[in-house]
Subunit: 324 residues, 2 copies
């Protein structure tokens, strides 16, 4: 085992190579590493690439650059698992930064959740998701389905498809782009009566957890979205972010404009220090509870279909998503 | 529905009355409310008691005071459920304050986890817990079993027994009594190889969650304690607290002395800002990872026995617990 600092760079380099479908050269890798906050030159990258070649993790294709080998892919996978004690909030911050959807131009990248569903269950799943969209569950009617052989950076396990749904953290990206300092704070379960939110039953902070709160609630099967669709009563998933109360009007404007791009789900914007459905707020801060995008997927899961969901997964060009 | 402020006081009053096995008078209630941080006089308490009498939740017994009625108990139970969006850290702080175990006198109250196990499974469970204790899993060989008809404030569901195990948050109480400002911070899953801790696989902060992190890991079945007992490899539960690094020696002394009272489980005390098994620490702070008491219960669950566990549940006189 060499220096952990070198190991971290080797993994990041493998990650960059694996993310491309063409061979990648040392200069492009160096540029990308610098983008990702590593201060490293082209010459140092070449040194690292030689180590990777020697270990059989990458392969050189003349001047075109390197590709990752099967062994390299396995190594990367293991390293990513070992490396996975990353706190959810850090991934959220990164994705918020990468979102660049423009509400005026109506184009750009949004944040999506990825759910893996067995191929044989996808038709039934889409039926339920349609029913959910018609019942005003969910924050966008747009989804995208990736098949096993689809040419994208989305992982699709054999025999499954990957369904991308709009992630509510996209709204945090929109608020940030609008110049509002926004803190995504809690994921939670929200009790619904007569189709109206009543109170949060549980809350888990995005800060200081390595497991996504929404993933925790989904694996605890805490939701009853199907019941809400049928009777108006049950438990849905929602999250809460905080903004300075002085930015309320601006935030309201942005979130309303998002509706024109088929992005909805905001429940309300609280006043300074106002407790919203039991979620606390500091003086000078306003809470904004928003339903999460995976509520439609929770409905699919409640119907007895096996789903593996990765909330706040990646960014995706919103124009490549289509209405259900 | 009246003023939520009044409702909260009504519930707190019912709670005080229900905690006593004798009728309680208005003056005692007022004193106890003041202890609990409510600024309220005897006269105001009488006003609230009249509301409770009218609603049929309490009953007056002449000058002796009030008792709670069956309807009152039901109401209190529902209110407590509605009220349950309490953050775990607040309960931890309260229990740490209430612990008064004296390491010199070797007596006093410790914090315990409570696990409900079916009566018919208790013999098998005790076998596994003994095996775990022999394998150095668990932080104390002492437990206590409460039967359905036992005269205590521990709830025992029909057909079950309640098993109390020492909770690792007791150590936080001991450190606090020793004058060390201690912050219980993360619950987590710790990877074990060759009987030694390797790294945290997941961490969830006690701060800002309404569901206990250890309960989350247990319901996700993230442990493999039985495997560790057999082969020395697997995943155990541990938590991390932080103290000022200047208090390291004093903490070490206290935690060593705890061993003389059959309380063990401390893995190490970190240096200033030292990352321990992947758990971060700030400069000037030392992390202390400690195995949690419910690892033995996790082993019981892994053996296929249904267990419902409430970590960091209540305080209990340590002298009433007995060795397995």
């Amino acid at each position: 085992m060499t220096d952990p600092d070198i190991e971290r760079k080797l993994i990041e380099i493998m990650r960059i190579i694996s993310e491309s479908d063409k061979p990648v050269g040392a200069r492009n890798i160096a540029d990308e590493l610098n983008n990702r906050g590593y201060n490293i030159g082209e010459r140092a990258v070449r040194y690292h690439l030689r180590i990777l070649d020697e270990r059989g993790f990458t392969k050189k294709h003349g001047y075109a650059g390197r590709t990752i080998t099967e062994r390299g892919k396995e190594e990367l996978n293991e390293a990513l698992i070992a490396d996975r004690l990353g706190f959810v909030i850090n991934r959220i911050d990164e994705l918020i930064y990468l979102t660049d959807y423009d509400l005026n131009e109506k184009k750009g990248n949004v944040i999506v959740n990825i759910s893996h569903i067995d191929k044989n269950d996808i038709d039934a799943s889409i039926e339920i998701m349609k029913y959910a969209a018609d019942s005003d569950i969910g924050i966008s009617p747009k989804i995208r389905i990736f098949e096993e052989d689809s040419d994208s950076n989305i992982t699709v396990p054999p025999g499954s498809v990957a369904v991308a749904t709009l992630c509510s953290i996209t709204f945090d990206g929109l608020l940030l782009k609008g110049g509002i300092p926004v803190e995504p704070y809690y994921g939670g379960t929200l009790q619904i009566k007569d189709r109206d939110p009543v109170k949060f039953l549980d809350l888990i902070s995005y800060n200081g957890t390595s497991i996504d709160p929404i993933k925790i609630f989904m694996s605890r099967r805490s939701t009853s979205v199907l019941n809400i669709m049928d009777t108006g009563e049950g438990t849905m998933l929602a999250n809460v972010r905080y903004i300075p109360t002085s930015a309320r009007e601006k935030a309201d404007e942005i979130l309303k404009k998002a509706g024109l791009s088929d992005m909805a789900g905001t429940i309300t914007i609280g006043g300074s220090g106002e407790e919203l459905f039991g979620a606390p707020a500091d003086i000078g801060k306003s809470g904004i509870p928003i339903f999460v995008g995976v509520n439609t997927i929770a409905a699919v899961q409640e119907a007895g279909i096996k789903v593996n969901t990765y909330p706040i997964s990646t960014i995706l060009d919103y124009s490549t998503m289509y209405k259900l």
